[in-house]
């Protein structure tokens, strides 16, 4: 298939003008090829006998494909191959990126990235005391976070009921998780429920609400789900409890533990305190703050021991449905999968709706499936009136 234009990558063979056995001469038209621009004649640059047709009419093949074989007259041809020569490989040209600039002498000014300054202010770290690992010794966000974690790691934590401080030894954190999970599966008789929930009202309301809010105050849908869980617990309070010895102790306050994976590996689930009483904006700020501190090593030990229930969301990872393992001494964990467009029947008609599957893993010693089902139904109902959350 000849290359007939700079942007031609393939052509469709329409018809052969010559048949096997026919004589062909240099300059003859032997075939017609359909291209993006229309029908173009294929000229032959060799003289001889058309020996065999390789590509049949109707076939679309890339340029460079052998269409037919011609047995040439006379002696062996000169240097040039007739078709299917390897395409010239152009020399590699470096992208037109300006070389990294050598800065003018910056004096004694410490190089701290704007983000690092911001994080340092929140973590109470003086960036000028932090060693920089970025280009030219620049202090980056990670440098500040590391400095904060190192400072935190100083005195050993007094209370360590749950996964310990971030930036701790990952292997140690893994051991803690292992112990807790093994104990959970050993001791807690889990039951699992799942409940698909239509989120179209939530998403529409969020879009409107966020348009009104300053960029820094915008809400994530995950926080809306957290709030719905916290409120639904008022209706099924036995799920909001801790197991002490032989029985569950219901908790008056709803402290929702949010599962946060750490960049260096491992997991923590610190508490959003009194989640059911906080307006969404406050909850959002508290959530952001919690994530930042979880990842930079600024969690308080109480935050790790306070949760009365845990929520884990794996939707970002594309997970359809979560089957969580309860974090002892809690008695339930709520999971959310991804939001996906699904067929949904409304008034007898199938319509596409953004649907998330909420799941509940609960301790059968404390609650039954009936109550768990009511809880998930309450979550669903609350999410149909997002403006009231």
């Amino acid at each position: 298939m000849p290359i007939l234009g700079a942007d031609m990558v393939a052509g469709t063979l329409i018809a052969w003008r010559k048949q096997p056995g026919d004589r062909v001469a240099r300059g003859d038209i032997i075939a017609e090829v359909e291209t993006e621009k229309g029908l173009i004649d294929v000229e032959v640059f060799a003289s001889g006998v058309l020996e065999r047709i390789v590509v049949q009419p109707g076939a679309t093949v890339p340029t460079g494909t052998v269409l037919a074989l011609i047995r040439e007259d006379g002696p062996a041809p000169a240097a040039m191959p007739a078709v299917a020569a390897p395409v010239v490989t152009a020399p590699v040209v470096p992208a037109a990126v300006e070389p990294a600039r050598v800065e003018p002498a910056p004096g004694e000014r410490k190089r701290v990235s704007p983000l690092a300054r911001k994080v340092a202010a929140r973590l109470g770290v003086d960036p000028d005391t932090v060693g920089g690992t970025g280009p030219g010794g620049t202090v980056t966000r990670e440098d500040v976070e590391r400095a904060a974690a190192e400072r935190q790691a100083g005195p050993a934590p007094a209370v360590a009921p749950a996964p310990a401080r971030p930036r701790m030894d990952v292997a140690r954190m893994r051991q803690t998780i292992a112990a807790a999970m093994a104990r959970s599966k050993r001791e807690i008789p889990h039951y699992y429920l799942a409940h698909p929930i239509d989120l179209h009202r939530v998403l529409a309301w969020l879009a409107e609400e966020n348009a009104r809010r300053p960029v820094t105050d915008r809400l994530l849908y995950g926080v809306v789900l957290l709030k719905a869980v916290a409120l639904a617990l008022r209706e099924v309070p036995e799920l909001n409890a801790v197991w002490r010895g032989e029985r569950a102790e219901p908790s008056a306050a709803v402290h929702v533990g949010v599962a946060i994976s750490l960049r260096g590996g491992g997991l923590v689930a610190p508490a959003l305190h009194d989640a059911e009483r906080q307006p969404l904006g406050d909850l959002m700020r508290a959530f952001r703050d919690l994530v930042q501190r979880a990842r930079s090593g600024g969690l308080r030990s109480s935050e790790l021991s306070d949760p009365t229930i845990t929520v884990t969301s794996l939707g970002e990872q594309g997970v359809e449905r979560v089957f969580g393992i309860i974090y002892p001494p809690q008695v339930a964990i709520v999971g959310f999968g991804r939001i996906a467009e699904r067929p949904w029947v409304v008034d007898g008609a199938v319509v596409p709706r953004p649907v998330v599957t909420a799941s509940l893993s609960a301790d059968h010693r404390v609650s039954d499936g009936h109550r768990g089902g009511l809880f998930l139904a309450a979550v669903e109902r609350l999410l149909q009136s997002p403006e009231r959350l």
Partner: protein, 326 residues
């Protein structure tokens, strides 16, 4: 053809036309296998225009051409190898591989490109002629352009300025009847290019562009007038390209019988017959000429194949004279 032709001159003209023809046939072949990329505009069918007009020029004259300029470059005496290497994009190309098929340059032969914006070469030609006029150099600037260019403002502006200042420009309109795919009568109300020139104050003449001797004679008349200080002249060569506008052109806008009719007036065939009729060209002459042209084309391809690529480190070279990264 009344007067008999000088044998050497006649064979010289024919050989140049055959060289252009065979060179371009090879270029078409190389394009289909990806050796030559970009746009490739072939001159096949129009060889008599470049070869005939170049006879009227001296080495001191300037040439400004279009993007369909392989014929002009070869007729001006540029090495086939350097032109082929340019189309390959090699460092040994006449423009070091920066120009390709559409931008052939050779300052030593006063060949100033290779202009691929239609009409873009005309103002430059006027300026070259202005420089010669102001410096007292008795040279002619020959400026090739197609029938499509007469639609550009640069055509009207340049003819006017050259006439206004009586500059030594020889405007050479290669009228092959189509501006890419648009026929002259489909884009011009006044299709007579000579009348357009005369309206701008530039005397013009039309000539059969398929007859190399007629082109040569007309070009000599026009160039003589220009050289004699009479101001610019325009020569319209009526010709036809036998191939499509570029390789990637299904030729939807031309009737097959129109193309076939023009092919009966193939300038190479016509002139071969003239030379034969006058007994200037013997049977063996033509075969020998084809053999020597084939060898020249093969050598050009070999040179292009074996030549080196320009090192990538030279990418920013010659953007400015000073070797700096601006």
């Amino acid at each position: 053809m009344s007067a008999s032709i000088d044998r050497d001159h006649g064979l010289g003209l024919l050989r140049q036309m055959v060289l252009i023809r065979r060179f371009e046939e090879k270029a078409a072949e190389l394009y289909t296998v990806g050796k030559i990329r970009g746009f490739l505009h072939l001159y096949i069918g129009e060889e008599a225009v470049a070869v005939g007009t170049m006879q009227a020029l001296t080495p001191e004259d300037n040439v400004v051409a279009t993007y369909r300029e392989h014929g002009q470059a070869l007729a001006r005496g540029m090495e086939a190898g350097s032109v082929m290497a340019e189309m390959y994009g090699k460092a040994g190309g006449c423009s070091r591989g920066r120009g390709g098929s559409m931008h052939l340059f050779d300052v030593s032969r006063r060949f100033y490109g290779g202009h691929a914006i239609v009409g873009g070469g005309l103002p430059v030609a006027v300026g070259l002629a202005l420089a010669d006029a102001m410096r007292g150099r008795p040279a002619v600037t020959a400026c090739f352009f197609g029938d499509g260019a007469v639609a550009e403002g640069a055509f009207a502006e340049s003819l006017n300025l050259a006439a206004l200042w009586r500059l030594p420009v020889l405007f050479l309109c290669e009228n092959n009847l189509y501006a890419m795919g648009t026929a002259l009568e489909r884009h011009q109300a006044q299709t007579d290019v000579v009348r357009k020139a005369e309206a701008a104050g530039v005397p013009g003449e039309a000539v059969d562009g398929m007859d190399v001797l007629a082109v040569e004679a007309a070009a000599r008349r026009a160039a003589e007038a220009v050289r004699g200080g009479q101001g610019p002249r325009l020569l319209e060569a009526r010709t036809y390209r036998f191939r499509a506008h570029s390789m990637y052109d299904p030729d939807l806008y031309r009737a097959g019988d129109e193309i076939e009719a023009w092919k009966t007036r193939d300038p190479v065939v016509l002139f071969t017959a003239v030379l034969r009729g006058q007994g200037v060209l013997g049977e063996t002459d033509l075969a020998a000429m084809e053999t020597s042209v084939a060898a020249e084309v093969d050598a050009a391809v070999a040179e292009a194949e074996s030549g080196p690529w320009e090192p990538v480190e030279d990418l920013l070279k010659d953007v400015y004279t000073a070797p700096v990264d601006r």
